[in-house]
């Protein structure tokens, strides 16, 4: 996966910009609030069709502009595609692939494959279960449109079911349609369980290797899926088995659910444990170890996307590079550079060794303009 050219207009603080990145390391250098992360945001939006940071879509459009336009030329499977997204201030969005309008953008999500490392990744280790579920949903959705569809439908079914339970508790409704909401919840819930289990299993295998490489064989890393179900290992194998397990959990907890007017089991109660040397990283790892864990998780994701797409994804490092110690920086660059197109934002070059700087393309970002260093 390689981005040949990126063109922006009316995007965030860019009136107009154009870059032709190197196929290896690209350093985006500039002071704070000049627009470095906005360039990463543009690449991410072309992949996910939604913003990287939690902002409204309309906020992607430059202040006062009527529309924003992003165009990417990229190579995938030896073919060059041109993907363009235009977003109008009134909310209308037009996506074209090779100048043909795309009627169903969801089919193109993740076609430009991207993995983004941000300073926020530490919340994967230290944050709430909801942070880890968000990670699962975002990343699996980029790999599988079927999963993205199931996430949206599961949320809706859960909302409906909880509303029914609440209305029943308040005496405003009967439970006559409960079997149907159970069926919807179980149908989409089983898909989420199964996909998350598979994703975490594959990620776990890869994380073991990447973490040993990052820590120079000193530490082991394990991921353990904890589904929101009263099941013990071994976890169900097939989607139907997950469906049966969730349905029987709903039946068993029916009394308790009616008292509390909420759905007690399902993927909305999922979590996964991150274990370093067999101990829970959230509780027992040092800040430095936690940072390395987050990095390992993202690197494993890079490897996972590569194994699925048969080409490494584009890697975005937003403000994470300079926080690492020199040894980890070196391992990271060594891991990524041979094949992966990488974009790194930073405020100065002190974090880079000479060899990396020699091979990297440098772009200076200042007040919404970007220029390549000779």
């Amino acid at each position: 996966m390689q981005l040949h050219a990126l063109r922006l207009s009316g995007f965030r603080n860019y009136t107009r910009a154009h870059i032709e990145p190197s196929p290896r390391v690209n350093i985006l250098l500039g002071e704070n609030a000049q627009g470095k992360t906005n360039l990463l945001e543009a690449i991410y939006y072309l992949s996910a069709f939604r913003p990287l940071r939690p902002v409204r879509e309309a906020d992607l459009i430059q202040w006062g502009a009527q529309e924003m336009r992003l165009t990417a030329q990229y190579e995938t499977d030896g073919l060059t595609d041109e993907l363009q997204i235009r977003l109008h201030a009134q909310g209308k969005r037009v996506i074209t692939l090779n100048e043909q309008p795309v009627a169903r953008p969801s089919a193109l999500v993740g076609r430009l494959s991207v993995v983004c490392f941000t300073a926020n990744d530490l919340t994967l280790i230290r944050g709430e279960p909801a942070d880890r579920r968000r990670f699962l949903d975002t990343e699996i959705s980029l790999l599988s449109p079927r999963y993205a569809h199931a996430v949206a439908h599961y949320r809706r079914a859960l909302e409906q079911r909880n509303n029914l339970l609440r209305a029943y508790l308040e005496g405003a409704a009967s439970l006559e349609s409960l079997p149907e909401w159970n069926a919807q919840l179980v149908k989409y819930g089983a898909r989420l369980f199964q996909a998350r289990r598979q994703f975490l299993e594959r990620l776990n295998t890869l994380a073991e290797t990447t973490h040993r490489a990052l820590t120079r064989r000193a530490e082991s890393l394990q991921l353990q899926y904890q589904p929101g179900l009263p099941v013990r290992a071994p976890l169900p194998e097939k989607e139907e088995d997950w469906a049966d397990a969730l349905m029987s959990a709903l039946h068993q907890s029916a009394g308790e659910e009616l008292r509390r007017a909420t759905t007690l089991y399902g993927p909305h109660r999922d979590d996964f444990q991150i274990l370093v040397q067999g101990y829970e990283a959230r509780l027992f790892a040092s800040q430095g170890q936690q940072r390395t864990c987050a990095l390992s998780l993202r690197l494993s994701e890079v490897a996972l996307v590569e194994s699925i797409r048969h080409a490494p994804p584009i890697v975005l490092l937003d403000d994470v590079f300079s926080d690492l110690d020199p040894a980890r920086r070196q391992s990271l660059v060594a891991y990524l550079t041979p094949r992966t197109q990488t974009f790194i934002t930073c405020t100065d070059l002190s974090a880079f060794d000479e060899a990396t700087l020699r091979d990297a393309a440098q772009f200076e970002v200042r007040e919404g303009t970007v220029s390549r260093h000779a």
Partner: protein
């Protein structure tokens, strides 16, 4: 900024319409008062007339001016097939095909606890009574392919199956002329599970 009272009231009324914001309401109101008086009068009359004349067909609950709608009173329609839809607009969409010759039953909504819509708020009791009285050969469920549409269809199927009537659901899937490559996974999934013997 301050429009005179009568105009302001018109703007407020228009703003309450679905899909009309404050700015569109202003634009529409200013447009309307600049048109010839005759035209405004016709618009007002049509509003009142449509409101007064239109009611629900007592058999299928589609819109009608008589006790029974045009479809229900047409003797050439096959009365032993009933197609259940959520909204009167779905009837119009299906009729445009000029393919379906049976009758309809309009639910006027879908089961949706989040919007406070329970089964008893829909024309479901009427459907059950109708099936009992008319004993149709088949009931086709044509609710939309989303969470609420699926749940409503499952609910109706459960209600009707005990009555011994054949219940089917319309297939969802590929647009005609659509290429597999560009269909999204959800559509493709529906198309695959609704496949037919060749």
């Amino acid at each position: 900024m301050l429009f005179p009272p009568a105009l302001r009231q018109l703007m407020q009324q228009l703003e309450r319409l679905p899909g009309v914001g404050a700015r569109s309401a202003q634009r529409l109101a200013l447009y309307l008062i600049r048109r010839p008086e005759e035209e405004t009068r016709r618009l007002a009359e049509s509003l009142i007339l449509a409101r007064e004349r239109t009611r629900l067909c007592q058999r299928c609950f589609f819109l009608s001016e008589a006790e029974l709608c045009e479809l229900c009173s047409d003797p050439s329609r096959e009365s032993e097939v009933i197609c259940v839809v959520a909204d009167p607009r779905d009837v119009v969409a299906l009729e445009r095909l000029e393919q379906y010759r049976g009758l309809y039953h309009v639910l006027h909504g879908l089961i949706s606890p989040a919007e406070g819509v329970q089964p008893e708020d829909l024309r479901l009791r009427e459907l059950v009574e109708r099936v009992r009285a008319e004993t149709p050969r088949e009931v086709i469920l044509a609710t939309p392919a989303n969470v609420e549409g699926d749940a409503t269809a499952l609910y109706i199927a459960r209600l009707l199956k005990s009555m011994g009537v054949r219940v089917t659901r319309i297939a969802y899937g590929m647009p005609v002329g659509g290429e597999l490559d560009y269909a999204d996974a959800a559509t493709l999934g529906y198309a695959l599970s609704g496949r037919q013997e060749m």
